[in-house]
């Protein structure tokens, strides 16, 4: 009885560990982030980071800062691997991110104006490679 309990417990622990390990592989957007994106409260900036489109709230600021810090860490690591500057890597990613926005989402057009993505190609930085 005691051993079966033990095995069951061990099984549960290993399943939990598997779940935790498997999580990053199929990482999806946080629901709050996904909601703020599709509602147009936050948008993709030209520089590869997120920005707040309308009025700033502490929640939105926290969300945006949190993701931007993580993005910066990725840019820092990848730019070092590619032997380019962090800003170059971030801008190159920003070009792709704006291209990948779906209709209804917000993105920053050259000049700093927030635009809503339509089915038409987005207005991107002149330094971006053609899609």
């Amino acid at each position: 009885m005691k051993t079966t309990k033990c095995i069951a417990a061990a099984g549960a622990v290993s399943l939990l560990a598997l779940g935790i390990l498997a999580a990053p592989a199929q990482a999806q957007r946080d629901p709050a982030y996904a909601a703020a994106r599709s509602s147009g409260e936050i948008g993709e900036k030209m520089d590869g980071y997120l920005g707040i489109v309308g009025t700033e709230t502490p929640e939105l600021r926290r969300l945006v800062n949190d993701i931007n810090i993580k993005r910066r860490a990725v840019y820092a690591q990848k730019s070092q691997e590619e032997q380019v500057t962090l800003d170059e890597y971030a801008l190159a990613t920003g070009c792709q991110l704006i291209l990948k926005t779906v209709p209804g989402e917000k993105y920053q057009a050259p000049g700093g104006v927030w635009e809503t993505r339509t089915s038409a190609p987005p207005k991107r930085d002149p330094r971006c490679p053609p899609a």
């Binding site: 957007r29 990613t93 971006c128």
Partner: protein, 85 residues
Amino acid sequence: MNHSKLTAPPGGVTDAPMQSRRTCDRARWRFGWAIAPIAMLGGCINLTAPDQPIVIELNINIRQEVIYMLADEAAETIEENADIF
């Protein structure tokens, strides 16, 4: 007698120049008031706050060829880190 003619002429001699000076003063006053708002406006600079954030591009050290070269690499990075992009 000539004396009375000199001291008290009909209409009064001394009155005429006084009258003209007073009207001149009044005209100058009016003119001053008229140009005052114009002068004040000239000294004013109207500033309206922009409703869009001011973006200053400081990335002067971005190499165009690098951006082109990184296009596929960046797309891959986005796929790998889908939770933050």
